[in-house]
Amino acid sequence: MSKTLKVLSLLMVAAMVFAACAPAAAPAPVAPAAPVATEAPAEAPEAAATEAPAEEAAPAVGEVVFFSTQFVPVEEQEKFRAILQQGGFDVTGTEEGPLLDVLLAGAQSGVSEIDVIGALHGTFPPLQQADAMMNMIDIAEDLMADRELTAAYLETGLLGTEDFLYYVPWMQATYIMAATVDALEYLPEGADVNALTWEQLGAWCQTLAEETGGPKCGLPHAGLFHRFLQGYLWPSWTGGMVTTFKNDEAAAMLAWVRDSLWPYINPQSINYAFMQEPLLSGEVWVAFDHTARLLDAFNSDPEKFVAFPAPSGPYGLGFMPVIVGLGIPAHARNPAGGEALIEFLTRPEVQGMILKELGFFPVVAGVDTTDLPAGVAIEAEAVAAQSNAPNALPALLPVGLGARGGEINQIFRNAFDRVVLNGEDIRTVLDEEGANLQTLMNETGAPCWAPDPPSDGPCQVQ
């Protein structure tokens, strides 16, 4: 009886799998029966039209299919497209997930429809694992003949290998603070806005909340908030990101955030994804966010806003540089065109245009920074002040987690949400989330990255 049941259930599973796969294939033979007969003539010329020019023009530049996870918002995309068109190129904006899927499919089938990708540093490790990218080292060497690429970012582009360059650095950004000029009046006694400590920020937010009729500090909890935790709070209070995730200093930091900072943060913060909008509307007077997500505020009203570095903690000024790279998929149809596009985008004058119009900072020396728009100039000063601060402590985006890069963000967010929003016990939360973090490190085998000291084996949470 049980045997027949087993056989039956096996058959059923097999049938379901078959049923799931069959219809996807079935329409193909059915299709020629009716509609395709009329569509076939229409399809042929169009396919020829799109394919032919690409093949003919391949020796020159040809059509370069460029996918970027940056400059996806409509306004940014149009500005970026205008810059690209000067070199005869175009771009398609995409999210990271679908882009990875398309590239991994390309790697498996040996044909990539995409010629160049522009993506964050963190997008490349999963592609490294799937062996989906081309070695860019020769291209980078050719480029170095007449321009100077930031050496530190070429180093990160190697993704820990000796001589396999996964991307040519394209541009950089970071996260800074912004405030309205009015808010400066409420600064605590003796505080320098360009060298704030976390306690001073807390006191500032408290004064603002008490004297202006409501909390006026804002954080992008619905946006890139995990970077605030990974790159700013943890490094500046504990000196590390992963190794010090659950130590006593981290516990003290969370207690401070819960008791002395969050009560004076605008409760709408849990809905903010871009801080430029609440800043412009006046809901928020002091905010932290990505430079590109503050730019609109500085550009719309440069007189009203100031930019300044993030606050410092006991271990210095933790901050997170964001590196964007350009890579060519392993089986690209038009690698020569891809190379031409990369050459174009790393020209100092093009980098200058991107800085002026889009607020991403150059990675090439010799960019003209004299005639910047007000908003960009304001940000450039704060970015320089932040990275050149004597106690600066750069924290890199997570490296080596592969496709599981999103999980570390969730762990940091969970730790924050559980302690600060839900009021759970700090020690319990840090121990539990610390265990999750350790599991993630062990399973991916990722060694420590800055600001944690380098490790042989997987990074250890202490």
Binding site: P27, E43, P73, E75, L104
Partner: protein, 296 residues
Amino acid sequence: MSATGNLASAPVRASDEMLRVRQRALMRHRINQGLVYLLAIAISLWVLVPIWFIASMALTTPATVRTFPKGVLPFIPFSFDTMQFFLNSQGIIPGLINSIVVAIITLVLSTIIAAPAGYAISRYIFPGRDFYRLSILAVRAFPVVILAIPLAVVFINVGIYDSVYSLALMHTALTLPTTVLVIGSVFASIPYELEEAAQVYGCTPLQAFRAVVLPLVAPGIAASAIFTFVMSWNEVFAASILTVRNRTLPAQVLSTLNQSSEPYQFAGAFFMMIPALIFIFIIRRYLFNMWGQISK
């Protein structure tokens, strides 16, 4: 005499009472009706206010959208700037055309395949019918997310990757299960006796189908076809995996809108909403028809 007197007075007393009863009933009826209307108005507002809000925000200046608190009065100042910028941005119009082409091919293919399948399921009793009916749904049980990479690999290897027509095949596969089941229940709602009667009067089975059944099921099939259209129109995931240069509108704009500032989110939402609204206005009678028949 007295009988007539009784008869005459009885109705008066009765009508007096009846009047009160009737008045009370009328009152209750009116209150009930008022409550029904109130509920209907509340539900309508629930749906209409966001649409109204999106429309008014899409058709005003970006500065107005940013003001806080936002104004209650819509369209002031009226401006087409955001919409125009959105419509002129790269890929919107080609994406719109691709979306329509994909949706129409999907609609035609899936109706052609699903109509006979639905008829067979509802009319013929064959071994494994129930299992077959269930297993059709299994297609929907596999998330496209899991199939994405293998699908893309197959499409690339077969040489039909990045084409509007092959995307339509994918959408057909995705919409078939629902279409087959919906059309099946549309056929099931037409009594087989009607066909038998037609055959008794001399029709061949084919004639009976064409002359009797087809006119009766046409609205239901039309509704399910348009339902298919809307499903294909809204599909994002397969569209963004299987196309690179020939993107459909949702694949083109969804990632864009997700990261755009509010004025463009409103403009995009408004633009994506219009076709759906037009469809619903056209098909609403058939739509009730379809659901009504399913519930039988």
